[in-house]
């Protein structure tokens, strides 16, 4: 029994990490169709933000919460910079975006290596997050519970912003029909930039959260990028609901398969399941309802 509970929590935890990494991507890739391979490096930027903030603020608790804020702003600012300098020139050339942002990602990785060094750096977790909580015989690390809560909060905040705020309405309008939105007086340029800011900012938040469980190294973003893309594709492009379900489903599937087999086989099985799933539902769990003529 405690194995099932333990793996269920592990699955939820993996899912929440996937979700955090994928949430920003579901905006930039799902809503805008930009294949941003530098998304992983925005995650990395968030991680190093947590490291730098901790050098300044010695209280681990204080630095964690400040990092979450600063990480969002820094990730967002990098996203805006990328959008304004490169991505805006190639909205109609998705393959070029892929290559260019991949290159940007490599440059950012090397930059991090030059600035912070190649070995991983340690971001200390607050004392109250060390150790685990025993739930029905299974031990769940507190850091993972924190990330779970953070992911849920990020989803709630993002969906509120998308549903209730004028900005969210503008984003949705531009995604559904760019021309009509522009005719109605919405600046699609400004909306694109805002969307990129939020999407990349969420990557920064994910990066801060990841410092609690793993290494903070120049390659940290790479390890999550592919998984984040899978979550967005399986969930259905631009569908936050889909991303949430896909992230937790993949997390739980992965944890149970890995428990009964091995990590490598679990990865293969998860990929096979995704391939089969996409044969049946190429549009993912949920499809965007668009009124666009294109």
């Amino acid at each position: 029994m405690d194995v099932v509970i333990g793996q269920l929590f592990t699955g939820l935890s993996i899912g929440s990490i996937l979700l955090l990494a994928a949430l920003g991507l579901s905006l930039t890739f799902g809503q805008m169709g930009v294949i941003n391979m530098a998304h992983g490096e925005f995650i990395m930027a968030g991680s190093y933000t947590a490291y730098v903030v901790q050098q300044v603020i010695s209280s681990a608790t204080g630095s964690l919460f400040i990092s979450l804020l600063v990480g969002f702003v820094i990730g967002g600012a990098m996203g805006v910079l990328l959008e304004v300098t490169l991505v805006k020139r190639m909205y109609h050339r998705p393959l070029d975006t892929l290559l260019v942002t991949f290159g940007v990602g490599l440059i950012l990785q090397q930059l991090a290596r030059d600035v912070f060094g190649a070995p991983a750096v340690n971001v200390a977790a607050p004392e109250w997050l060390s150790g685990g909580v025993e739930i029905l015989g299974a031990v769940v690390p507190k850091t993972r519970l924190f990330i779970l809560v953070l992911a849920v909060m990020a989803v709630v905040a993002l969906s509120l912003a998308m549903q209730k705020s004028p900005m969210g309405r503008r984003i949705r309008a531009v995604v559904q029909n760019r021309d009509l939105a522009e005719t109605s007086g919405i600046s699609s340029r400004r909306t694109d930039v805002t969307t990129f800011f939020i999407g990349s900012g969420l990557a920064g938040v994910a990066g801060v959260a990841l410092t609690l469980i793993g290494s903070t190294s120049p390659t940290i973003g790479q390890s999550y990028l592919i998984d984040a893309f899978l979550v967005v594709v399986v969930g259905g492009l631009g569908q936050m609901k889909g991303a949430v379900i896909a992230a937790f489903a993949l997390g739980i599937l992965n944890s149970f398969v890995e428990y009964s087999t091995t990590a490598s086989i679990a990865k293969v099985i998860v990929f096979v399941v995704i391939v089969v799933f996409l044969q049946v539902r190429p549009q993912g769990l949920f499809a965007v309802k668009t009124r666009s003529l294109v």
Binding site: I14, R113, A118, A138, V139, I213, S215, Y259, A263, K267
Partner: protein, 417 residues
């Protein structure tokens, strides 16, 4: 008129084609010539002699390999400042293997054939070494490989200056057995070294009545260990034998500490975590865990004091030294001593004169065994303490003779070659 113009066109076309074929042959001929003389393209006429340094400066292995490049550079500078090798200054050509075995092979080829280096120092993962091996054999050049590895290999073109299994893994198992460990859980990265190391561990365990409670591999660079740690926790072995590489260790030890597993109850013995990784993992997450190596920064020899001081003076007081760094540093000196004994930079002369060459290394005296190109090494079990350094809790006393095929161990017979 029409026929003429066709002919007029045909003649230059044919000529051009012949020309192309000829130049093609020409360049091919010169290529082959270049390859066949690759071994002797090493230029010994000038005041300098080139050597290669080939390490991952990017990718998942950069965390470890950058420090190796740094200590190679340190050894080279020390040698240059004391007069060089056979009167020549050493010039290092540094290349990035990018954590990709194929890149290692390409860069090795480049170092040998176009930079014409006399020897190459580097490589870390066994897959990078396996990828480079044919390149060094085909070009008859020399690789000095500074990292502990899984054994079961020897090549006249490679000098193995890290530990082979009987100088690291077997002593670690002996130590655990002596401490009363009756069962083990094996965790490793999914590639050559952990798989082979675990085959050896299982053979040892079977012969010594140690139960293997589980065996798990994760893809290299994997950072989610929640499931594996759950498995380890419920298996309740006496100790964990860890052959993970690179960044994965950070996530593994954080998870291990966070679910409440303590070194006092279930110690983890690691064979590839060195001093520089402890900082990234966070000392509080790994304090009290064990490692098996031949060298720690805390080793108390005059040679080591000199090495540590020189390294810190050059790269920063907070930069620790580690086993592969020490082995890389030692490699350069072993090459120098062999070249001076041979009075030649040529591959064959270095090979013929290698047997018995010694160096008073930071870890203690090491000697090249000419029969398998490995070196004698002192085994040390260390404990990671609160200051982030590793302290010897047991050592073999004298250097252990290398035995890459474990021929002197009856239980290892089934492993084959």
């Amino acid at each position: 008129m029409r026929t003429f113009s066709q002919r007029a066109l045909a003649v230059p076309t044919v000529l051009a084609a012949i020309g192309l074929v000829l130049t093609g042959c020409g360049s091919k001929a010169s290529d082959t010539a270049g390859e066949s003389t690759a071994a002797s393209c090493v230029d010994t006429s000038g005041d300098t002699i080139k050597v290669g340094s080939l390490n991952s400066l990017s990718g998942t292995m950069a965390i470890s390999e950058v420090t190796v490049r740094d200590s190679i550079a340190l050894a080279v500078d020390e040698i240059n400042n004391s007069g060089g090798v056979l009167g020549k200054k050493i010039q290092v050509v540094a290349e990035d293997g990018a954590s990709e075995p194929t890149v290692f092979a390409e860069k090795a080829e480049k170092l040998i054939s176009s930079d014409c280096v006399a020897a190459v120092f580097g490589g870390w993962t066994s897959s990078s070494r396996k990828a480079m091996l044919p390149v060094f054999e085909d070009n008859n050049s020399l690789l000095y490989y500074p990292v502990q590895y899984e054994g079961l290999e020897d090549s006249k073109n490679t000098f193995y200056t890290g530990a082979t299994t009987n100088q690291q893994i077997v002593p670690a198992l002996d130590y655990l057995k002596e401490k009363g460990v009756k069962s083990l859980y094996l965790v490793g990265s999914d590639y050559v070294f952990p798989q082979t190391a675990n085959r050896i561990i299982k053979a040892y365990a079977e012969a010594n009545g140690i139960e293997i409670k589980g065996e798990d591999y994760t893809p290299l660079g994997s950072t989610d260990f929640s499931t594996i740690v759950n498995k380890v926790r419920s298996a309740d072995a006496d100790a964990v034998f860890n052959t993970l590489n690179g960044d994965s260790n950070v996530a593994f030890f954080r998870e291990y500490a966070n679910v409440g597993l303590k070194p006092a109850d279930m110690p983890v013995v690691s064979v590839s975590i060195a001093e520089e990784e402890v900082g990234g993992i966070g000392v509080q997450n790994i304090e009290g865990q064990l490692t098996a190596w031949n060298y720690y920064q805390t080793v108390d020899t005059p040679e080591n004091k000199k090495f540590v001081d020189a390294y810190k003076a050059r790269y920063g007081a907070n930069k620790p030294t580690s086993d592969p760094m020490e082995a890389a540093y030692t490699s350069v000196y072993l090459w120098k001593n062999t070249v001076e004994k041979a009075k030649s930079f040529a591959t064959e002369d270095v090979q013929d004169n290698a047997d018995g060459v010694t160096f008073a290394a930071p870890e203690g005296l090491v000697t090249i065994d000419g029969s398998n190109h490995h070196i004698t090494k002192t085994a040390r079990i260390g404990e990671i303490r609160g200051d982030g350094l590793i302290y010897t809790v047991w050592d073999s006393g004298t250097p252990i003779q290398p035995d890459p095929y474990l021929k002197s161990y009856p239980w290892a017979e089934a492993l084959g070659s």
